[in-house]
Amino acid sequence: MKKFFVSIITLIVLSFPGIVTAETVRILSTNDMHSALEKMPQLAAIVDSIRAIDPTVLVLSAGDNRTGNPYNDRYEPVSYPMIQLMNLIGFDASALGNHEYDSKVEGLAKMTALSNFQYLAANIECPPETGIKVVPYQVFDVKGIKVGILGITQIGTLGIPDTHPDNVKGLSFQQPSDVIPKYKWLTDQCDVNVLLTHIGFENDVELASQFPYYDLIVSSHSHTQLEGGEIHNGVLITQNGYQLPRVTLTTLEVENGNVTSKKAENIYLDKFITRSEAATALLNYFESSPEMERVVGNVKSDITSYDAFGVMMCDAWVSECDCDIAIENYGGVRYDFFPAGPIKVKDIYNLDPFMNNAVVMNITGEELKDMLIACYKADRNRFPITSGCTAAVTYKDKSKSEIKSLNLFDTNGKKLDMKKKYRVMTNNYVASIAASPREDEGVRGTITTSDLIIQWLEKVKTVDYQGRTSFTEKW
């Protein structure tokens, strides 16, 4: 079977004219891998197969290699598993995605130091004291052909990458279209010119219209699923979804220093059943990480209901997000029993397994009330759990299918001021389904709600939530 799949790769690679000649440049590219550790043995096998035919193939990532799997993102040093697997595969370069900044400057410095490949970003300035190893571009000699690759990192509406502003303190960024013209000289010196970007497909189409002297844009960030690649204004753009459903093999034919043809096609990972043994062994090692077994707190007495766990989760979020009130949908709590004793990292991921992020908003008591009712309706008529306020819910009848009245109280038992603004935190699921009108829709952060609970438990150490609830019901 392995031979069969190697044959498929062989057919793909050999299906172009000029078989492994000095005029053929091949690039295998990934984007938005987001800690897809489990896919790396297949990716490694694909790369090995292509290298067996063309050892000069360049392997590129367009960024967001991390964030999406706690086995990678909670590792110390952070993202070490992903980096080691990328090192094993032999990546040649990576763009900096906005999630590469999620562990602050210190985390990024460690990541770049541990990587055997170079990070490319022309529109970032990193002072030397940050320790971040990043260069604007890299030139590869592929069988005598000069391949110049210019990196571009993502910039959002705040003028920084889409991450918490604290994560990029001390770094400065420039708009891609301001920076790229400064490297026109590089394109004059190279035979093949590539932009390795993390700015999203739509912005890459715009770059293609502004800078048609690039041959290829290896795109990322928008998780766009292309069928191979698309030509826009003469520039080939490739991008391939999220968490490695496929990788892109781009083949460029070069004659007398000019690219005469270019083509990109997808290789499906799930159809490629061969797995690299070395990458599998490395993956198994990382997946047996002791981090998941680490005790983060102690439960004083048995917790015996979803309500009690929900209140604990909301207390954690109020504390960690510095909020007045937190909301969790009833269906979002996945434990209704936990025995007294130690609670581990893996328990928190089972309690809150959705990899949701916090959404923080400033809303009035009236808007909060409407939001709770909207959440109840969308969450199959189950009233949400809160911290920082309690609720007295009266239903029209025993079926609980309609709320007749709802009264909210502050932590002192006084009625909540309906006109006052409160800083409210919830997860992105509740913020989405609770579609009641409110002036401030809030901001979704990058830390997961489960990681907020872990952070909080590490501080409070012992919790006692037996019998706790945040609302009363009658009809």
């Binding site: 497909f201 959404v359 829709e441």
Partner: protein, 66 residues
């Protein structure tokens, strides 16, 4: 921020992803949350967008029920 879905504006929190928008769209259109697995989001070019794809203000998205 505001995302244009099937030619209509939908307000949603900053930093929302496609999955958040699909949920909001389903609730607003009373489709029920269970139907979200049948909803497919696409960009203005017709490319499929996965639920983790980031959104930007004024972005144009098409959502269809498969």
């Amino acid at each position: 921020m505001t995302v244009i879905v099937n030619n209509y504006p939908i307000r949603i929190f900053q930093g929302a992803k496609v999955g958040d928008l699909v949920l909001r769209y389903a609730v607003r259109n009373k489709l029920g949350i269970k139907t979200i697995n049948n909803l497919i989001a696409m960009d203005r070019w017709g490319h499929t967008l996965d639920n983790e794809a980031p959104l930007t203000d004024k972005q144009i998205v098409k959502i269809i029920n498969s």
